[in-house]
Amino acid sequence: MLGNINSIETAGLLDGPGVRYVIFLQGCPLRCIYCHNPETWNIKENKLMTVSELMTNILKYKDYFGEKGGITVSGGEPLLQSAFVTELFKECKKNNIHTCLDTSGYQGKHEELLKYTDLVLLDIKGINDADEKYITSKVINNDFLDTCQRLNTKIWIRHVIMPGINDNEAHILKLKEKIKNIKNVEKIELLPYHSLANDKYKKLNIDYKLKDMKDMNLNRIKELEDLLKTKDA
């Protein structure tokens, strides 16, 4: 079975615990306004690799994973290639490698895949359908999350914060409300919007809605994270 791969980051430190081999798959059904990997949108064939080719390479990096690290499959949207990712994760588990899936939870088969997934990085796009549609142009149903809950999959929640759009307390409180009902949440990460993708959009000749947006203030992120952490009165 072949996976359609955009790129590989052999020592990722931001997508899951520890040092991680991050595979960015090609193709995404969503068009998030803040997306910083627009080069992964198109589902056309990019770099095709078999599970065994990929495993040969991953195993070379196993020493670097230590006790916490492992592999993360990101994208694009990995659920678009869930059969491939399932096979890959199966092989990783055989080799005692921690597996992490970075997803929006949109579409795609996932029941079998989640059996071999140690951790889901669940990107909550919006706090309600309207918000989600504004951000992604689609509405994401709860199927994926329901399966995670049924299988007791560990979850890290991620949510992108943009200055002037959703960096307000009302928004965060609603997010908090939404997350409250999700179990097995080990960590919540508010991801600060950054403008580093500007050049990518220019090169790809895609109109970037946020091209004039400033980077999110990191102190503000800290405040909002504190707000998320405070117990309800």
Binding site: T10, N57, K60, D63, G66
Partner: protein, 606 residues
């Protein structure tokens, strides 16, 4: 007093350490800042270092010739110094050492506006042949051509070879008397006379003389090092005198220290336990020792310094490392050594090198990261890879080469420019810069577009022929270096039946791999001059590039290294040395690249 039996019966520092050291798994909170005395000495030293930086060199002793006991005692600030001894009678005053080659001394002195004492230079030239002269009496035409064109380069044929690490701890642990007695015993067993034993008998007797000179030199500072050191300050002082003797006598490109922190920690722990010193005094001893190491200098030509972007001495100290999966050799003094980078500020020398293992204590790993982030002054080497080859008690010379302390020595092997070798494979052994024939018996490649198989076949032939030339050069160089510039004190601090490693090197691997990859995976068109020599290339299409974890090109690199290694091993080495091969990474590659007409990667690989 100290535990263990074996080390008392024979020279065995490793056994002493394993029986007596205390592993430290805690954090850095016990560390203290510099003492008042240390601050005085270091402030004075810094003033001198600034002056030196302005002038290039602070001063040279042009009247005396390098030697263990050829200089009067020197001080920085005698009342505040805790560890004593300088290379000459004044700090940062450099030594002239014509044993490796007198031409280099003249050009260095000339560059800085000094002149050698005429009487000294006249006598030396009249009565003493040097290493450089010896080498050129023996060099073949092939070697001279390969040397001139830069195919083999950076050869230690005009100055001290370095890379030898004396086991300086032996002087502290045993005292000079015992070491001399051991050497005398070794001589008693060397009675089967042949060329090898004649040479060794002479060498050992030279070693004994050097040990005596070291003892006299220490005595000139008021210390009797004939007996073992009895406390931490003495152990550090004795050990430093041994190292100091070596940098008075020799001026090798790398004059490394070895692995001293855990050894000295045994004495420090004992003194702390007995209430003889407190933590401030323990740190003071180490700080002051490190100050001395920071002031070691050799007289070099300005272009030598340009090569390394500095004035390097490669006083490498190896820190940490493991004994097995559970026990590390990290002690409180390992921390104290790294703490000097805080107390005295960051510095490239001594070259603090952590022997890294996944199993090192977590606290120590964190401290290393902290110091690295703060100072950028730690070099890391992989203990898990080297320990199985070199045992528990090895150290790094310079930046890459490991050897078991006191048991192995290294013949510094410079490097072969394997990218240049590829150009010879294409141009039939002719140099595209000088248009001269450097390697005979290589057919020219005449086609407009390069064929991978044809180029590779020629390349293998070039490597075969160059490997022989390279080995010949190294054998001559080290034969002559032993004869005319033998490192008596460093070798005295080795076992008499020392194992020799000959450390060959290859530069330009990534460029070569990229070039061959381009020929294999895309089309490479040749541009020729009026002599029909290829002087430029046009690459049509893309190709896998080295450094991206792509086996299509990485395996080419592996094959080149294996081929070169096996070719080198076909040739017997001086003193029955073992072949080792380093792939040179960053240092000096750009400089050596200038010896090729085309060397920049990516834009143009060939």
């Amino acid at each position: 007093m100290f535990k263990g039996i074996k080390w008392k019966e024979e020279i065995n520092v490793e056994d002493f350490i394993l029986n007596n050291y205390h592993e430290y798994k805690g954090d850095e909170s016990f560390l203290v800042g510099p003492s008042v005395k240390t601050n005085y000495v270091w402030t004075k030293s810094k003033e001198l270092l600034e002056k030196e930086l302005d002038k290039g060199i602070l001063d040279v002793d042009t009247d005396n010739i390098a030697g263990i006991n050829n200089y009067k005692p020197g001080y920085i600030d005698k009342d505040n110094e805790v560890i004593f001894g300088l290379q000459t009678d004044e700090p940062l005053k450099r030594i002239i050492n014509p044993y490796g080659g007198i031409k280099m001394v003249y050009s260095a002195l000339n560059a800085y506006g000094y002149k050698m004492n005429e009487d000294v230079s006249k006598k030396f030239e009249q009565y003493r042949k040097n290493h450089n002269d010896g080498v050129f009496d023996a060099y073949t035409n092939e070697i001279k051509k390969a040397r001139k064109s830069g195919l083999i380069t950076g050869l230690p044929d005009a100055y001290g070879r370095g890379r030898i690490i004396g086991d300086f701890r032996r002087v502290a642990l045993y005292g000079i008397d015992f070491l001399i007695q051991q050497k005398k015993d070794d001589l008693k067993n060397l009675i089967d006379i042949n060329e090898e034993t004649i040479r060794l008998r002479e060498e050992i007797n030279e070693q004994i003389k050097a040990l005596k000179e070291t003892q006299d030199m220490a005595l000139s500072y008021g210390f009797d090092i004939s007996k073992p050191a009895t406390n931490a300050k003495e152990a550090t002082q004795w050990l430093y005198f041994a190292y100091l003797a070596s940098v008075k006598e020799s001026n090798g490109a790398a004059m490394s220290l070895g692995r001293t922190a855990t050894f000295l920690d045994i004495y420090i722990e004992k003194d702390l336990e007995n209430g003889l010193i407190n933590e401030e005094e323990a740190q003071e001893i180490i700080d002051q020792f490190i100050i001395k190491l920071r002031l070691v200098r050799h007289l070099r030509t300005p272009d030598y310094n340009e090569l390394f972007a500095g004035d390097p001495t490669w006083v490498t100290e190896s820190l940490g490392g493991m004994i097995d999966e559970k026990r590390s050799l990290v002690t409180k003094s390992t921390y104290r050594y790294l703490n000097t980078l805080i107390n005295l500020g960051p510095a490239p020398e001594p070259n603090m090198t952590v022997l890294w293992s996944v199993n090192l204590p977590e606290n120590f790993k964190k401290y290393c990261s902290y110091i690295s982030i703060k100072t950028d002054a730690i070099q890391y080497e992989n203990d898990d890879l080297m320990r199985p080859m070199y045992g528990n008690d090895y150290a790094i010379a310079c930046c890459v080469s490991a050897m078991t302390l006191g048991k192995q020595m290294q013949f510094f092997g410079a490097r072969m420019n394997i990218a240049k070798a590829l150009l010879y494979a294409i141009n039939g052994g002719y140099d595209e810069l000088t248009k001269e024939l450097v390697i005979e018996g290589i057919s020219k490649i005449e086609s407009e577009y390069l064929e991978y198989d044809e180029v590779l076949k020629n390349y293998h032939l070039v490597l075969e022929k160059s490997a022989k030339t390279y080995v010949d050069a190294m054998n001559i160089i080290h034969y002559m270096h032993d004869k005319y510039a033998y490192e008596r004190i460093e070798m005295a601090l080795h076992d008499s039946n020392v194992k020799h490693l000959m450390a060959f090197g290859a530069a330009g691997l990534s460029v070569t791999a990229d070039s061959l990859s381009a020929i294999k995976h895309s089309k490479v068109k040749t541009i020729r001059d009026e002599n029909n020599l290829v002087i430029d290339y046009i690459i049509e299409g893309d190709y896998p590039k080295y450094g991206n974890d792509d086996d299509k090109v990485d395996l080419i690199a592996v094959d080149i290294v294996k081929k070169l290694s096996s070719e080198l091993k076909k040739h017997k080495l001086y003193k029955n040395a073992y072949h080792t091969l380093s792939i040179l990474t960053i240092t000096s590659n750009i400089v050596y690249g200038k010896k090729n007409r085309l060397y920049s990667r990516r834009e143009k690989s060939l």
